[in-house]
């Protein structure tokens, strides 16, 4: 018999031992895996449903433990995973506010913003495709921006990590990955490749096991694709840690 007193969200943890009744005396804590995807964008930037498809693909891989990076291991039956569409920084804060977040992944538009001089400015997550207050996560400071300090650091576990799948998330002088790492004090991973991104249906490319080829550029995902990955255009997809 396992210990009693564990709630539904904290089921008793069964351990392998010499006898059939060996149990731990502690309830395992449910951890939260949060996957968010931003607005599709407008005009030539319109990604349609592809950010959502990439987020759903990632959800399946996290649950199956098949994403070949050092992401936290998902424990079926204990941990919880949710995929959420967001249009503002407040929308991003909402699913994080559940607490005990061990993993946060973002699929959507991102990149440098206009700088003070002629050089590119601080990086941003362009979450919403409307020019509206709170639609960008960046330190830049216009009426449309909210800083990373809006994200409550105390909702993340100390062993948590963030992974950004947008364009140029870890590229440039003040990338958005750096801004988030400074605020959250946890590992933030983002592509350090320069240039924009493409969607691929090849898991080898999606997992960073090879570099982008011309055929990848010339062949966008077919209409009936169900598994897609968002990767940078230049070289092999490379995550930098911030």
């Amino acid at each position: 018999m396992c210990v009693s007193g564990c709630s539904r969200s904290q089921p008793p943890q069964r351990t392998i031992g010499p006898g059939p009744t060996d149990c731990t005396t502690e309830c395992p804590v449910q951890r939260n895996f949060v996957i968010v995807y931003g607005d599709p964008g407008q005009g030539a930037h319109n990604a349609g449903r592809l950010f959502q498809l990439a987020a759903n693909t990632h959800e399946r891989e996290i649950q199956a433990g098949s994403f070949p990076k050092n992401t936290p291991a998902f424990v079926a039956g204990i941990d919880r995973i949710a995929v959420t569409h967001i249009s503002t920084v407040a929308d991003l804060v909402s699913p994080v506010s559940v607490g005990d977040v061990v993993y946060l992944a973002y699929f959507g538009h991102s990149g440098p913003s206009r700088g003070l001089g002629l050089e590119p400015g601080p990086g941003a997550l362009f979450i919403g495709d409307a020019a509206s207050p709170g639609s960008n996560l960046t330190i830049r400071g216009t009426e449309f921006d909210r800083p990373a300090t809006d994200i409550p650091a105390d909702k993340f576990r100390t062993d948590a990590q963030v992974r950004l799948f947008g364009c140029r998330g870890g590229f440039g002088l003040d990338p958005i990955a750096r801004q988030m790492a400074d605020q959250l004090r946890i590992a933030v991973y983002a592509y350090t490749n320069h240039g924009g991104s493409l969607f691929t249906t090849d898991p080898a490319l999606g997992h960073g096991r090879r570099a982008v080829k011309k055929a990848d550029i010339d062949t966008p995902p077919a209409r009936n694709s169900t598994s897609v990955w968002l990767v940078p255009i230049n070289g092999s997809p490379t995550f930098g840690r911030f």
Partner: protein
Amino acid sequence: MLGVFGAWLITAHLDRWQSLASGIEPPSPTPEQVQGIVNNIYLIQGLPQKNGEQQWDVHAYKISQLGKLAAPMLIEKLTDESPSQVFELFSYTIGDVALALLTDIYRAPDWPSPDGSIQMRKNFGDFRDYVEFIRSKGTRKQIQQSWKIYSQTH
């Protein structure tokens, strides 16, 4: 927060404010200067990820700051199918970059033709529709014609 935004505003418009303060309008660029700036379109490495955002690439920013002065040259480049350095979900030609800059400058009510006179088929509901559309024969010429007419009245 306001301080950062204020600093950005001041720096971004410093030249113009200095000119206004001295009572002297900044001189308009000569046609040769306009041509020189717009011809650097091939050096642009990226475009804003969202409509309404200012250009972050220095060459794109300089072209967009020319405003409608850049329009005739940009419209001429709409049919240029040579490759650019821009890749944002798909590989942009120079003509695609020119269209993005015209759209940025005019903030036209429709896209890719500014007056909505040319409609794309929506097979995907995303950028793939544009890629299919713009690669079809004669489309770039049609887009160019609609921009010529629009720019004469706006």
